[in-house]
Amino acid sequence: MTLGALAADGRPGAVRRGPGIHRRLSAWPLRRRVSVLTAILVLLVALAWTLAGVTQHSLQSALSNQSDRIVPGRVGVDRLQRDLLEEAVAVRGMVIGGTAAVPGDYPRAVADEISQAKVIQPLLAGSPELRAAVRRTEQLASQWRQRVAQPSLALAARGLPAAQIAKLNLASGRRPSFQSVLDSLDVVDAQLARTDTAATRQVLDDSRTLGFAVFLAGAITVLAGLSALVLLRRWVTRPLLALSDGIWLVARGELDREIAAPGPPEIARLAGDMEAMRRRIVEELDSLRAAQEEISRQADELRRSNGDLEQFAYVASHDLQEPLRKVASFCELIERRYSERLDERGKQYVRFAADGAHRMQELVRDVLALARIGRLDRRLTEVDLNDSLRQALTNLSEQVSSAAAIVQSDELPTVIGDPALAVALLQNLIANSIKFRSEEAPRMKIAVRAEDEENWRFTFADNGIGIDPEYADRVFVIFQRLHGREEFTGTGIGLSLSRRIVEFHGGRMWLDTSVTRGATFEWTWPMAIAKAEERKVVSREAIG
């Protein structure tokens, strides 16, 4: 993928020019690229600096050669020449005699000369030629001393006049002249001067080379740094930035945008992983969206079918009421207008018909009431259950006072609910207790405590005839009656209505079967606080 992406949106020209090399290079991992680049740069810099070092060393040795050997050598030769001349002057002084004769000058000059020659020798160790020339000069000087100086001094000591000595010296022929000694020394000096010039040229050459080498090394170092910068930018920074841009776009919400980064395999792999993650997220999101759509579709369906059912129950009940009303009404009219024309059996038939119609009317009315609990347009508000209880007792005041019923209640909380339904719940329970009372006067007790952090738990206990635990669930089933119609009136809808009201508000209702005396109903109801806090949060958000 990354190679394709590189070929597609990298530099197609480069790819066309050398696909093989380019592909091979682009397949190189970043680590190898950096290693190779570093190795090459280090090698180049090392070479440049080695060259500089070698040149510097050569310059150093040329300089030291000049200062340690050549210059002292030339000084030494000068001194040697001076010593030789002093020897000659001393011999001449002794030969001439008089004030010129200074006994002891000659031997001292000779000693100086010989020691000077010894000093020179090691300085010229590097050049056998020069050493040979110095040795030849020494030989010539030694010959001159043996054959000219010492014989002349001996003659002068015998008192021979100078002119005679000179004549003798000239007459002796093949005797080495002092001039030849000096000439030989001149040769040494000239040679040394040449060496000196060459050494100076060497120093100049070397320093020029050193300058060049330093410049070259510096340039290579700078170039190496620059190329490292450029290559790292191309290999690392640019692909990373491209990757980051891609990720940013996806993070901003363009989830369909593919993440790709041309670059070394490491970054390509990172991009590949990111891309895989993006696809996974897109897939998950799609399936989540599909699930959500499915759920919302089902919720719509459910809402619609609930609405349909409610509508059906409502319409059915309503349309059933109409003919029933007619049956009941005309039965009544027959009884009123024609009772004297009917015999006892006929009157009974009419009464049964009227009774059936009335009962059917009650049933239909109850179905209607049950269907209406779940009405979707109910507006929930804060309901003070103490008010609901008062209202229920007012509605039932006749029954309550005729049965001498007593209702005791805890201080009840304020909850979120439908006020009419809350009254209906309590009214149903109280009516139920009064209806199913024992011989004692009916007593009811309503208690409330927190079930958990979000729900109240209500307990409604009476002292009535109670309910066999066997029927704990049946009492809540619509139109289920546990007692004969002659015993107790009513359709048996009260408790199922109550349970439906509780469930509509998000609670549960059950019969507490552990109580043996009377009947005890329990139910839960969500606390209002949660709702109130929710509302507060919402309004804060609205303000913010």
Partner: protein, 156 residues
Amino acid sequence: MKRLAEPEPARLELLLVEDDPGDVMMTQEALEEAGDLIPAPNLHVASDGAEALDFLLKRGRHRGAPAPDLVLLDLNLPKVGGQEVLARVKGDASLHRIPIVVLTTSDAHDDIVRCYEHHANAYVTKPGGYESFASAVREVVHTFTQVATPPPRARN
């Protein structure tokens, strides 16, 4: 201007808009049994909304029909529905003063709200048995014609 003498009290004119013959009969019975509570009225019956409008607007075979003192209107009617009859009457400047009491089996919230929005004068749900039905009818008629002062009759 001719009749300067005390006029004879006019008969009560009632229009019952009802398609159910049983209810028509029960209404008649109820009024017959009214005794001293209500003076015997002229009960006109329209069996659908269109006929009710004809009667009120004195059209077709109801040309020359009297202006009713009270209309008892069912909602579930053939041809033209009760709500529309109500809306037309209350939207007509020559008719809108006539008191209209909706008398229906429906106790649907929407029906009640819409009727009062159309300025029905009262909304009564038909009770279940004859006795209670009859007393409801009598009370309504008594209240609107005897207890309350009706609007002056429109001139024919």
